[in-house]
């Protein structure tokens, strides 16, 4: 059966999950025992986990819905990160001082837009980049597309590395990356406009605000996914994933539809990249490795390709393991056995083994979409084999 109306139990479960997540910073610092907090991420780490979950959900539009294997998703993370750098740091100090809602004092050199605007700009710029990359590449199918996107994922960091001298213009600061990027906050402009705002709002907000912003972004991404899934556009994506030629014959414009999925995926990838950069206050081309693309792709696969809830869970779990779980496990291991093993060295070995095991035991993902389950279940009729045949 297709995703019908949610049952009451599911609604209640969702509400509980959301409330727990919303109250997490508070729970973490006030109510949890140290034995538990040893295993749980602090608020800043929890922020990173949610930001990466947004990336997983963003990639799900491309890989899960439209079925386009994108191995270069990190390109959009990079785009978002650098837009944050351009619009909220002293990178363009030569251009004078443009302070508009940024969390800096007036007359600070460089561009300092309100971080909320920066997030939006990063997402939009990234979506635009998605269109620019998508139009020439999305004509390719399957493995070819995977290889070309892989290429773009490598080209973008290279471009960033060499972008410190574009005809004499320093766009990216090269291999050093950008530092001193502003944080989240409301800034002087807003402070002056709304006098009732407490004076500490001039400063950068604390980690809870990052966390809540990321949580809000997760919610926006999930809602977007659900609304689009049950729409003309979402159906066209899934049709393309199922059978591109048949979709075209039914009147689905392939290029436009695919590019749109790519751009929407890029939109959320860019937003996440900017969020993470605003928190870190710095970014550099070293952060844009193939491993990031693969990591995010694993979230989609682990969660259950195409299922929004599965990908959310997969994203949170995988990012948790990467940013907290593994350390916690290593610490527990060392303190129990009196050893001194650096478990993070074996992270990729552990992931590799885990993915292989997972694919063997539960190839449909944690929470597979009903559609995906339909694909993996034995077909009732042996005659259907012909349905897979290639050209029409």
């Amino acid at each position: 059966m297709p995703p019908a109306t949610r049952t009451r139990l599911e609604r209640a479960l969702l509400a509980v999950c959301f409330c727990t997540l919303a109250l997490y910073p508070w729970l973490y610092s006030n109510y949890l025992s140290t034995t538990l907090t040893q295993w749980l991420p602090d608020t800043s780490t929890a922020f990173v986990i949610l930001a990466f979950t947004v990336m997983g959900l963003g990639l799900n539009f491309v890989v899960g819905y439209a079925g386009l294997l994108d191995l270069g998703y990190v390109a959009f993370f990079a785009a978002g990160a650098y837009v944050a750098g351009w619009l909220a740091s002293e990178q363009f100090a030569n251009a004078g001082s443009v302070v508009f809602g940024g969390t800096v004092l007036p007359k600070t050199p460089g561009i300092h837009l309100s971080p909320w605007l920066v997030l939006l700009a990063a997402a939009l710029f990234s979506a635009l980049l998605g269109v620019v990359i998508g139009v020439p590449t999305l004509r390719l199918r399957g493995d070819y597309l995977a290889i070309v996107t892989l290429g773009f994922g490598e080209i973008i960091p290279q471009f960033v590395r060499n972008g410190d001298n574009l005809g004499g213009f320093n766009l990216t600061n090269g291999a050093f990356g950008m530092n001193g990027i502003d944080g989240l906050g409301f800034g002087n402009t807003v402070h002056h406009a709304i006098h009732t705002l407490p004076s500490n709002f001039l400063n950068e907000l604390d980690s809870r605000w990052y966390y809540w912003t990321a949580l809000a972004l997760v919610v926006v991404t999930i809602v977007t996914s659900l609304l689009l899934r049950d729409s003309r556009l979402g159906r066209a994506w899934i049709a393309i994933r199922e059978d591109e030629d048949a979709a075209a014959a039914m009147g689905v414009p392939l290029m436009r539809t695919k590019t749109l999925s790519y751009a929407i995926g890029a939109f959320f990838g860019g937003a996440a990249g900017a969020m993470i950069t605003l928190q870190a206050g710095a970014t550099s081309p070293d952060a844009f490795s193939l491993q990031v693309s693969i990591f995010v792709l694993c979230m989609v696969i682990l969660g259950g390709i195409g299922n929004v809830w599965g990908v959310t869970l997969g994203g949170i779990l995988l990012a948790y393991v990467n940013y907290k779980g593994l350390f916690a496990a290593g610490n527990t291991f060392n303190s129990t056995f009196g050893t001194n093993v650096d478990i993070s060295q074996y992270a990729y070995l552990i992931y590799g083994v885990a993915i292989v095991l997972f694919m063997l035991v539960r190839p449909e993902g944690l929470i597979p979409s009903a559609r995906r389950r339909a694909e993996l279940v034995e077909e009732p009729e042996e005659e259907n084999v012909g349905a897979e045949a290639s050209p029409a």
């Binding site: 059966m1 297709p2 977007t224 609304l227 689009l228 729409s231 003309r232 556009l233 979402g234 159906r235 066209a236 899934i238 049709a239 199922e242 059978d243 030629d245 048949a246 979709a247 075209a248 014959a249 039914m250 009147g251 689905v252 414009p253 392939l254 749109l260 929407i264 009903a370 559609r371 995906r372 339909a374 694909e375 279940v377 077909e379 009732p380 009729e381 005659e383 259907n384 012909g386 349905a387 897979e388 045949a389 050209p391 029409a392």
Partner: protein, 260 residues
């Protein structure tokens, strides 16, 4: 002005490397007719369909559909102009429900894009509701039981898959319906029912039908004109009786080369 001819294809040629799959074929279809395209396996029939729908671009030649040259148009534009099709090997969207398959067929008729879908505007909601109602009607029209509407296409029985495929093609609101071996795998009773269905649909929906068919009884029964292809060449054309009497057709079907 509506021309007499719905399809007017001239000297259509398709080469795959050295292989000439369609060799300068002239082909016309009158408005409202049921026309069959027959010929042995590998004759180039499906290739011809693929050129009509824009899936393949002809190596040379021109195709005028409903007064417009359609060569080189992207497939979705051709579909929107009014060519709907089914596939020789059923190609449904397996992990979508029967209903959703038909809704995809309506793609070019529905309007809601990204922003309307996100905002769930009244227009978008009405369009979805009407679309679903129409899709249900179409499925019922093609003989699918309401129970099967919500099943994944992959899980439907073979006969139901064929029905959904026809419903999906009709959902594009075609002027010309292309059916590629629709009776393959049907028993004689189902075949007779299907022939009746094609006639009925033609009357009720103002269709023109072009049919690739192997079963000569179906061809003789349903079609007003028949074109015969063999090794990419058009070897005969005419009424079913004329064609079945043709010496070259007989030998092509018996697998021997004509003597001449």
């Amino acid at each position: 002005m509506t021309a007499e001819l719905l399809v007017d294809a001239r000297a259509i040629r398709k080469e795959f490397g050295g292989l000439v799959a369609c060799n300068d074929i002239d082909f016309t279809v009158e408005r409202g007719a049921i026309v069959s395209l027959i010929g042995p396996n590998g004759a180039g029939k499906t290739t011809f369909f693929n050129m009509l729908t824009g899936a393949y671009t002809p190596t040379s030649g021109e195709i005028v559909f409903d007064g417009r040259d359609i060569v080189g148009l992207p497939q979705h534009k051709i579909t929107a102009l009014g060519i709907g099709r089914t596939f020789q090997n059923i190609r449904l969207f397996g992990a979508m429900t029967a209903l959703e398959n038909v809704l995809v067929g309506m793609h070019s008729r529905l309007r809601s894009g990204l922003f309307r879908s996100l905002a769930r505007t009244p227009l978008q909601r009405r369009e979805e509701k009407d679309g679903r109602a129409q899709a249900r009607e179409l499925l019922a029209y093609c003989g699918l039981s309401p129970r099967a509407e919500q099943q994944y296409a992959r899980h439907l029985a073979y006969g139901d898959q064929r029905r959904v495929e026809v419903a999906r093609a009709l959902a594009t609101n075609p002027k010309l319906l292309l059916l590629d071996e629709p009776t393959a795998g049907m028993n004689p009773k189902e075949t007779i029912a299907f022939v009746d269905f094609v006639r009925k649909a033609r009357e009720e929906r103002g269709l023109t039908v072009l049919l690739i068919e192997h079963d000569m009884r179906v061809v003789v029964e349903v079609s007003e004109r028949v074109t015969v292809l063999d090794y990419g060449e058009k070897i005969a054309e005419g009424t079913p009786d004329e064609v079945t009497a043709d010496e070259r057709v007989r030998s092509a079907y018996l697998g021997t080369k004509p003597v001449s």
